[in-house]
Symmetry: C3
Subunit: 176 residues, 3 copies
């Protein structure tokens, strides 16, 4: 039912579940050249400073950082090369960015991203927040957000070779 069509990996987890740290360890363990593709946007100077600090920390740790808030499939294609691992952190921020653009068909963007994974030669590791296991949010935008995020997770998971669910820093393999 869920054959893998790519060498992509999906790491799902809750807030402060240790999912990013786990994904960074997976990337390191591949032994490949490590690229970090950040989807988050700096909304003010304080955040810009924090982002630059993290970028410098990662550079000292062997990562090359790129940023792309919207055209994730394009950024992956531009970075794609055998011998590389690309860590995308994170899909939920990407969904947020897409929702803030007018007239964007978020689910279509997600389907296009998923469809593009099979052609990549790099190993791509996606980090994302599972947000659908609480009470239905009263806020309409929040409901739309978790619907988009849930559909994106299904689309990426269907193409991924391996899927992990992380809680309390511990990975649970759901596929692969």
């Amino acid at each position: 039912m869920t054959a893998s069509h790519s060498r992509s990996i999906l790491v799902l987890g809750g807030a402060r579940s240790g999912k990013s740290r786990f994904a960074e360890g997976l990337a390191r363990d591949t032994g490949l050249d490590r690229f970090y593709l950040a989807t988050g946007r700096a909304w003010d100077d304080e955040m810009r400073v924090r982002i630059e600090t993290h970028k410098a920390d990662r550079a000292n740790d062997g990562w090359t950082t790129h940023e792309e808030p919207l055209d994730l499939a394009g950024a992956l294609k531009a970075l794609d090369q055998p011998g590389r691992v690309i860590l995308v952190d994170c899909l939920t921020l990407w969904v947020t960015n897409l929702m803030m653009e007018e007239g964007r068909a978020v689910d279509a963007d997600g389907a296009a991203l998923a469809a593009s994974l099979g052609e990549l030669q790099a190993t791509v590791i996606f980090v994302s927040n599972e947000v659908g296991l609480g009470i239905v949010p009263e806020n309409k935008m929040a409901r739309a957000f978790r619907d988009h995020a849930g559909r994106l997770h299904q689309a990426i998971a269907a193409e991924a070779a391996v899927v992990y669910f992380v809680a309390a820093g511990l990975p649970l393999k759901m596929k692969g």
Copy 2:
């Protein structure tokens, strides 16, 4: 601790986790005659139209649809026959309906439903939303809802032969 007393299956998952699609696949794989027991209520004309569209789609796909918002145990008993699989979608809507009825002892209804499963000859597949893994809701009704849902899931899971937790469209077998 958790022996099964029925041939029922519980499929738990978050919003947009792919739990309903997974449950429909399970039903199809049994090869039995498929019945769909919908617990949702149409609150307005738009929803009535959507429900009728889904019902027609399922009919073309080999399902017979019944609707029952309150007396779930009675509806299962009425549909019960060997050679049938009954998909109940979903338990959380049923809890919502019960809570809207005055003076209803929701947990007692859930316990009675669970107790009735062992006598059924059909395979019953329950779909339900896990809603207890977020922050405590500020809204009192929402807190009561997740308490009722959580207790119902425990009661059904204790009687079920198989329990799945679905995330990103992928099933994790928790029992069976």
Copy 3:
């Protein structure tokens, strides 16, 4: 990656997931002398009555109950003895209590607790609520709470010998 440095057990789960009942069963199965360490505080007379009722019920069932809202590491050390199992219910209430104290470094308290576990001779079973799998809360305190809880779960899980995730009353072993 996650070697255990103690004989502690962490039982994570959602609201009404059956996590406390599961943890009580684990404690019973050890055959050790059972101590119950409650972190919850009585905020009014009604709650005080409920707490006393539960305490009496547990006493009839073979438990000795202690209460400690803040100094959890100290309380564990005071109760520590070979041949004992100590059930801590629950970590999320402890985080709540710490956050209500002025000037408390919650994460440092959590790290100190985790670091102390390797020296204990009793088996300690921690119960805690996973709260990070819903939508980002709008309330700032709620966001801080789930960050503290998530970091504490990671710290305790790293030291624990066994970690369970409980849903619908069913345990899923994540470590050990």
